[in-house]
Each structure stands twice: as C-alpha cells, then as structure tokens.
Amino acid sequence: MEKLKDALDFSDFSKAERIGLIIFSVFLLVFPWLGTGSFAKTVMIQFLLFSLFGMGWNTIGGYGGQVELGKAQYVGIGAYTVALMMVWWKIPFWISMPAGILIAIGYSFAIGYPLFRLKGHYFAIATICTSLVLKDIFDNWSLVGAAKGVELPIHEHPDFVYMQFKSDTYYYFFIMALFYIGLFYMNWFRKSKLGYQLRMIKDDEDAAESLGIDIRWCKIKAYSIASAFVAVGGGFMAVYNLYIDPASTMELSLSIKIALMAMLGGAASLWGPIIGAAFLVPLDRFLGSWLGGQKGLTGIDFMIYAALIMIVSAYQPRGIWGIIEQFRKRGR
C-alpha cells in the first residue's frame, strides 16, 4: 500500500512538470479520436514502446550509470517466448508474456553475475558481445526458425486471449496501459532504497561500498528490472507485428537505440526516456519515409540522425532534459 502511494505520488515535481504530465496524459487518452491517420498511430505505438524500453534502460543505465548496450537480447527473449509458446503450444499471451519476463530475469541474473565484475568500457563491450552471441545462436538455430524468424498464427476473429486485433487502436491502448504501469513503477523506483543506492554507486563506488552497499548485487537487481521492462516490450512487439526474426529483435542497433533515447532525453530522470522517445521515434520515422524513399538519397536520413547524436553527445551530454533544467536555473 505504501509502495502504491509512492508510485502515484508526483508531489515532489514542480508545478509545471505536473501540469505537463496531465496535459500529456489527456493527449494520450484522446489521441485515437483526433482523426489522425494510421501512420500517426503506428508512430505513437512505437513511441510508447520505446519509452517503455528507455525507462527500463534508465534503471541500470541512468540511475546506475552503467553503460549497458545489450538490451536487444531481452527484446528478443520476450518476443521469442511469446511467439514460440503461441506457435508450439497455443499458450495465451497472458501466460506467455509473464513467462517471457521470468526467463528474461533468470537469464539476466545468470549473465549479470559475471558481467558486473566488469566496469566502464569493458562492461559496455561485454554487454554487446553477449547480445551478439545470442543473436548468432538464434540466427542459426533451425528449431526457432533461424534467420527466417517466426510467424505467429493469425486468428480470424479479434481475440483478447491471444492479443490479436484488427484495429491498431486496441494495441494503442494496451501499450498505453503498459506505459503507465512502467511510469508509476519508475516513479516508485526512483524513491526506493535501490534507487538511492544506485545513485550513490554512480557518484562514487568506493564510498558506496564503505557504507556497506553490496554494489554488485545492487547492479544485478537493477539490471534484471531493466531486462523485465524490455522483455515486456518484446512480448508486445511479437503480438503487434505478428512476425519476429533475430534481425528485428536482437540487432545491435536496437540496443543502441534504446540506450540512446534514454540518454538523449536525459538519463537518470523520470521524464528523460519519454522525451527522448518522443523526439527520436517520429524523427526516425519521418526522415525514413520522407527522405529514405527518394531515389539517389539513400542513407541521408540516417546521416541526419547520426549527426544529431554526434552534436548532442558533444555539446549536451545530459540530454534534452539537461537543456531544460539549465534554462530553468537561469530563469530563477
């Protein structure tokens, strides 16, 4: 009960932020009735999905300050668990998604234990390596469809048990619900004991250790929370796209995108991943559909995208939220 109160309590934010959250929530609620096309709806679903990924990454990467670049493997685990259980045994989504979360958590403990012996660059590259190993295995494992991937059976009628709907609106509300669960959880998390411990670890590991914090255990716990978040998103991806393959769920670029959105928005802040996703997802999609399709201009959309990453990391590593806070300080 106490935890729930903490999760719903946004009173330590400034008035502007709380009003912003309310306006944003109202916008999310009425969005399907604004008469926008299906393209806008897919962009919004992507945005909510990547905010969820980003929030997960924010626990270990933002509050914990560990450069984690292997989140895609958990997207893969979540997506494959849901897809394979459905294809093999016809198990409903509501059972296979929690199963995916449990597998992701178990796996994250198993590799987190050796992984968190490492620090800094060693850690960052090792996370990439584990993710690539898993992708290589799935790419060549004929039992799980190898590089061809898995197609989910399509049901004729909309089905709540298997989460198959004709209209994107249902998926939109479902991912929105997941998004709010994530947001409230993160709101609790940042005020929890683990949240404070992680920030302490980020500031000064030696000092944290001398205060009796078990650094490695804290990091592993945060890492598995992050993995659970990402696995939920992966499960959603499976039922939403109805088709998954290693290239779309476990690619290195996906891991980077997840971390990048959280960092670009502002790591270690509740709003950061949301702002980052709100900025990058539409940019990505619009650049892709506007420039990517034109002949002779292939690649220019990603050049702009990359240039943006370069500029942000060189001039404002604290992200968009960092810029906003800078302005607020100046205004005071």
Partner: protein, 295 residues
C-alpha cells in the same frame, strides 16, 4: 593436415587483425576512448584503394599509400572536429559520440557509393595462389599478412624508439605527469588518432584485395578488434599483436574442428561467436587481458 592449413591461414588473417586493432588500442591507451567508428575507418580505407584502382587503374598494392594518407587525414579530422569536444563530457557521451560517428560514416558511404558489394578483380596478385608443398596460399592473403606485419613493426619501432613515440607512451601511462614534463596532451591525442586512422586505413587497403567492400563492413571488424584489444589488454601494443594472432587462428580453426567432429553446431556460422565468447570469458576471468597493464 587440415588443422595445420587452418593454423597457417589463421596466422595470416591474425596478422591483419592485429593491424586493424593496433589503432584502437593506441587510441584507448592514450585517451581512454573506445572508438566505435574504427571499423568505418577500415571501410573507408577499403573504398579509397578500390576507387583508386577503379579510376586510375593503379594496382591495389601500389595504391596502398593512398589508403594510409586517407586514414591519417580521417583520424585527424575526426579528432580536431569532433572527438576533442567529446572529451569534456562523461564516458557514456563519448561512447555514444563515436557511435554516432560510426553511423554517420556508414550512411555517408552508402549515400556516396550505394550499398553494392564491391571487390577488386584485377591486380598483380588478385586470383593467383602459391603452393608450398601441400599448402596453397592466396597471394593476396599472403601479401596482406606480410605487409601487416611490416606495418605493425614500423609503428612499433616508431612508438618505442622515436622521441614522439616515447612521449605518446608516457601520455598513455600518466597523462598528468606527462603534461608536467612539457608533453602536450592535445597534440599526443591527435597523433594517436593519426596513427589509429593510418594503420587501419592500410589494413583496409590490404583487406579489399580479397574481401568485399560495402558500407556496413566495419561492424564485423570492429567487434573483432574489440575482442583483440580486450584479449591483449586495453592499451597494450604487444598484447594486441598476440591477441590478433590468437583470434585469427581461433576463427579459422574452429570450423575445422566442427568439420572433423561432423557437428553442425560448430559450423562456420559460429566462427565469430567464438570470438565474442572468448572476449567475454577472458575479460571476466582476467580483466586486465593477457598482457594488460592498464586496469
């Protein structure tokens, strides 16, 4: 027999891997930055030789200095126009910054040259092979191995015998102390990037003789280079040489073992998986690498 052959081929590849990783380890040693764009420097080295060959009909081996010059210029340009500004930020921003550079160069290459796979098909050595007893070597790979070894030796000599090289290593050991001795950190950083770009450019020029050039070729080689650098110990030049050889032999010999046992699961698809696993295990068991001195 099969194994000896794989061993020899692996050593040739390993020499090239060592040259690819050399720049990465020098840059890491001097300024503690992991350069994700390193593979893209390799890609641009490959393209520079390819286009020199294509337009001027210069033999790829003679065009090698072009790739070296392009590599050095690219390294210097990246440092002065971009990396310098990254240094003010936290480590995570540096990682993302070089990652952004990587993406930028990849898609820039795609924009300019399209995503086509390109390979050199005429040259003195292309397509010819040398048979020594039962073993057959491609001349291109042989030349790549020998020239990589030479390039590595030259850089090693420069770093250990010249004054600038010594200054560079001093900066790697202790930046502050070196700067008190009058060594300009900024210039050393630039030199490290020039060496990094130049060596990997040459490696690209050698690689294009027997490997396709395409915009995304870098990511595979940068992962191999990461593995070599970590195996050798971040920043260790001697270490990266032996690690390169080890990785080259590993990726060649592994499919042969699979072939001998008759197992499909040890097939050639997994040859790089082994490299990643080796990285993971070595780094966890022995974080300073095989020859590491920087922890």
């Amino acid at each position: 027999m099969l194994i000896t052959d794989a061993l020899l081929q692996g050593i040739l590849m390993g020499l090239l891997f060592a040259l690819v990783s050399l720049g990465l380890t020098v840059i890491f040693g001097v300024m503690d930055i992991v350069n994700f764009a390193h593979g893209e420097f390799l890609m641009i080295g490959m393209y520079s030789v390819y286009w020199t060959n294509f337009f001027f009909h210069v033999d790829p081996l003679i065009a090698l200095p072009v790739s070296a010059v392009v590599g050095v210029l690219l390294g210097l340009a990246s440092y002065y126009w971009f990396i310098k500004y990254l240094l003010r930020g936290p480590a995570i921003a540096q990682l993302f910054g070089t990652f952004g550079l990587m993406l930028f160069l990849q898609y820039f290459a795609m924009f300019l040259f399209s995503a086509d796979y390109r390979m050199i098909n005429k040259g003195i050595l292309v397509g010819k092979s040398l048979s020594v007893g039962p073993f057959i070597f491609d001349w291109t790979k042989l030349a790549a191995g020998i020239l990589s070894l030479m390039a590595f030796a030259i850089v090693y000599y420069l770093l250990h015998r010249t004054k600038t090289g010594k200054a560079l290593r001093a900066t790697a050991l202790n930046k502050e102390a070196a700067s008190y001795m009058g060594i300009r950190t900024d210039r050393m950083n630039a030199i490290a990037w020039a060496i990094g770009g130049g060596t990997v450019g040459v490696a690209g020029g050698l690689l294009v003789n027997f490997y396709y050039a395409y915009p995304m070729v870098g990511i595979l080689f940068v992962m191999i280079a990461f593995a070599c650098v970590a195996l050798g110990g971040f920043g260790s030049i001697k270490g990266v040489f032996f690690a390169g050889l080890l990785v080259g032999v590993l990726e060649m010999i592994f499919p042969v073992f699979g072939q001998l046992i008759g197992s499909d699961f040890l097939g050639p698809h997994f040859k790089f998986t082994v490299v990643y696993l080796a990285y993971f295990i070595i780094v966890v068991v022995r974080p300073q690498g095989l020859f590491g001195w920087k922890n």
